[in-house]
Amino acid sequence: MAVAQAQKKNLTFLWRRLHTLSGVIPVGLFLLEHLFTNSTVLRGPAAFNEAVDAIQTLPLLHFIEFVFIFLPITYHGVWGLYVAFVSGYNAGQYSFGRNIMFVLQRITGVITFVFIIFHLWTTRFSGNAPTFDMVHNLVSNPAYFWFMVVGVVAATYHFANGLWSFCIHWGITVGARAQRVTAWVTMIIFVVLAGVGVASLIAFTHAA
């Protein structure tokens, strides 16, 4: 019976692998692009508006948005909720660093999921033109600003720690030393990306 079970075609492996892959390509790449575009605000509102205009003039923008952002992020998010649901949580009993980060990966994933829905609703689907003024008006509300800070920190942690996990899932980092070094590197990536994101948010609060 056990043998028959093993031989039965099982697609969970494929879904899980697609989940880790989509988290990096294209969702992770989009996060990097998004943080980069937002950081142009550090050079002033005009620079940000210019960067947004450059994206707005891309050919087939709706197609790119749908196929390379909307579909993969929806898949990653919905399957990710399932992963978070079927995971066990025992960091209370086993408070090893990695186990705590395992729990945080799932918590930040759920936070990011909720954050992205609200974020899209108030920006992309708000009916307002994507300009500095629109974002400035939003983050002038302290509650919204702090909500954005939490979202940015959660998303960048989830991405950086997810990279560490991705490297193991795909068999890239095999040895304990390789995994330890990658853990440090990805945490530096987290700090840098979170720093860039929060700095941009602060810049958006300054009047034009």
């Binding site: 056990a2 043998v3 079970q5 093993a6 031989q7 039965k8 099982n10 969970t12 492996f13 899980r16 692998r17 992963v83 649901f85 079927v86 995971s87 066990g88 949580y89 025992n90 009993q93 086993y94 090893f96 990695r98 186990n99 395992f102 560490w164 996990s165 193991i168 899932h169 795909w170 068999g171 890239i172 980092t173 095999v174 040895g175 304990a176 995994q179």
Partner: protein, 258 residues
């Protein structure tokens, strides 16, 4: 003078245990406290034996003696694995002197509990069967000597072969739970052991297919508790990553060859 004082101190020193018990597989667990006389160098098994000799709880009420499993008493068989002070470990090699008191003892609840500290670890043996953790050499005639194995591979294989299916990694793994069918870290490591054996490698695709099946390697979430609790220090997380690599190559290769 000092000798008699020491003798008195030893005689009056006690060990306080809080044991989570269960009458049968379907009944509710309950806690019972015991106080047993201390002996130098005693392990948790010695405490359980003391309770068996004199089955009375802390207040002196007679109770059914605590049931547990044991065989080798030298951390080689894995039968006496239980959760002691929050960590899955072997009761034989867990010394009272190194534990904080009261000592809490409970069964590994990731497995079905048979009675008290006795659990049914059949799922581990099913998992080993699933990943074909053996080298098939049976034939109708003498097949002759197999291929040689490098000394370096022997070293790695020796490390992996020290697994005694005690269940500590399965107990500590958050992804082995009611909602998942994950076979557990040890089985992945055993698949690696037999895939690196020159004769075992002749069946490596079968093991990789099994690892990609239901409850396979994809259910690992990299919490890495397994490597922390393994009493033999087996590099389980390295095994998992190494098998992830094999499975990735196998899956992509198989798909491109079809």
């Amino acid at each position: 003078m000092s000798v008699s004082n020491e003798a008195v101190a030893t005689a009056t020193r006690t060990v306080h245990l809080i044991i989570e018990r269960q009458k049968d597989p379907s009944s509710a667990p309950y806690k019972q406290e015991f106080v047993v006389p201390y002996r130098p160098g005693m392990n948790v098994i010695a405490c359980l034996m003391e309770i068996q000799r004199n089955p009375k709880d802390k207040d002196g009420n007679p109770v059914a003696p605590v049931t547990w499993e044991m065989n080798c008493l030298e951390e080689i068989c894995g039968a006496c694995t239980m959760v002691i002070n929050g960590r899955p470990r072997q009761a034989c090699s867990t010394l009272v002197d190194k534990l904080e008191q009261p000592i809490t003892v409970r069964p590994m609840r990731t497995f079905p509990v048979v009675r008290d500290l006795v659990v049914d670890r059949s799922r581990m043996f099913d998992a080993l069967k699933r990943v074909k953790a053996w080298v098939p050499i049976d034939g109708t005639y003498d097949l002759g000597p197999g291929p040689r194995m490098s000394a370096r591979d022997q070293q790695t294989a020796y490390e992996l072969s020290r697994c005694f299916t005690c269940g500590a990694c399965v107990e500590a793994c958050p992804n082995v739970n009611d909602k998942s069918s994950f076979i557990g870290p040890f089985a992945i490591s055993q698949a690696r052991l037999f895939n690196m054996h020159p004769t075992g490698a002749m069946n490596k695709e079968d093991r990789l297919e099994a690892l990609m099946g239901e409850g396979g390697i994809q259910e690992c979430g990299n919490a890495q508790n397994c490597v922390q609790v393994c009493p033999k220090g087996i590099p389980l997380t390295t095994s998992i990553a190494a098998m992830n690599r094999q499975v990735t190559y196998h899956a992509l290769g198989a798909w491109l060859r079809k």
